[in-house]
Symmetry: C2
Subunit: 213 residues, 2 copies
DNA sequence: AAGAATTTTTAGTAATGCTAAAATTTGTAA
DNA sequence: TTACAAATTTTAGCATTACTAAAAATTCTT
């Protein structure tokens, strides 16, 4: 662009969500195309074309660029426009508490659902002595102890978490919890993979196999 | 594969993280290749090749498949093997409390950092009367009120959240909080975009512009 | 065992992911 | 304002592959 920008918008061209986000992020970081390209092992011209929506990168190239820009790939990828209808707040008094028929653990789901959402969150009430099955699955998760005290084991490593303590780990590591105390424990679980089924009667940490449609 | 699987592992072939995850997810849902292919508008053979790691899909094809499998694209994309060194638990007593020089709000970061992590979590202590600047940004976020009571506004809609209440919404909607009460409020914030800078002295909700390297 | 359903394999093509280098634009110092 | 370096865009082109249709093989069901 020449110094004279009459009639043209200087930085608001819409090249598509991915393109715009990549350029935006690069500018946030104050990086040049060359710096990104060199670090990602790609050519300057290619990065330029990606950012202007002329070319769509392959997955591997996108992963490379994302790393350079220190952003998770998923953050660059969008879904449909979001619906305005879903209720996004939950009040303690309104939540359904659901239980597993074979266990006295109860759950309150607090995360809401909207297109593209990643976060899932559940409040778990664990009675004294309760042990969860060791499990590993995709995603990552975080536990914040609201009440009581639990022992958490992640990849063989045990830690005691008391009220106000937290743990955050990749769910790909084998993990489990144990309420070792004499009192019920209340845990705020937040994760990026829905291991708590939508149906209140479906067991926690059990398989979710369904028949073919 | 024939009914006789002597010497061959039936379902544990390692075709790469993406391939494995796609197949795993499809099987979780009990869908056939054909069902997925039809719904995604792709060919059966192609899905098969993707799942066996023979072919890598383009971004648009991956988005299509992800939608059919009801998973966010980012969940299918992994990073490097995870380091075993990072500390993933935080205890209340160990956390640094940091503050913004121009505000009396304080923060405790409780999320840990490991390659590929998406979740970020911070405990926010808001004094009475504090209002956050309205902001919108990428990702989604959740607020859980640990103590006190706040008014939250999302996309123009206000709700009062008290202890134990929560809100979960796309961060792309303009949002802000107000501690309307006479007491300090404590909020557990969890999100998929790091709007709380790593450096304790960097202002909350301020720009993050840096100079070119 | 038969047959349907499902998955894998095969062969092939249109498209494109990505490059190097030239051209243009932008930024900076004098 | 000018000169020049730095940054970005454009261009031309090729190697690779994204993806297909259909055949072959495998698995599942009755």
């Amino acid at each position: 662009m020449s110094g004279q920008t009459a009639g043209t918008s200087k930085r608001s061209e819409d090249h598509g969500p991915l393109a715009n986000r990549l350029r935006e992020r690069r500018r946030e970081l104050g990086l040049t195309l060359k710096a990104v390209a060199d670090a990602a092992g790609l050519s300057v011209g290619f990065i330029s074309q990606i950012e202007r929506g002329i070319t769509v990168p392959s997955l591997s190239s996108l992963v490379s660029v994302s790393r350079v820009l220190d952003v998770h790939v998923g953050d660059f990828l969008t879904h449909q426009p979001l619906s305005a209808d879903e209720s996004t707040q939950t009040h303690q008094s309104d939540r359904r508490v659901f239980a597993v028929s074979e266990s006295s653990v109860t759950y309150e789901r607090i995360s809401s659902s909207f297109p593209g959402h990643i976060l899932r969150s559940v409040i778990i009430h664990e009675p004294p002595g309760h042990r969860s099955e060791p499990i590993a699955h995709e995603g990552e998760e975080m536990m914040f102890v609201l009440e009581g005290s639990i022992t958490i084991e992640v990849d063989g490593e045990r830690t005691i978490l008391s009220k106000g303590d937290s743990a955050h780990y990749p769910s790909t590591k084998v993990h489990s919890t144990w309420n070792h105390g004499d009192d019920p424990a209340t845990i705020l679980w937040t994760g990026t993979m829905d291991v708590f089924c939508e149906e209140p009667t479906t067991p926690f940490h059990k398989g979710k196999n369904q028949k073919a449609k």
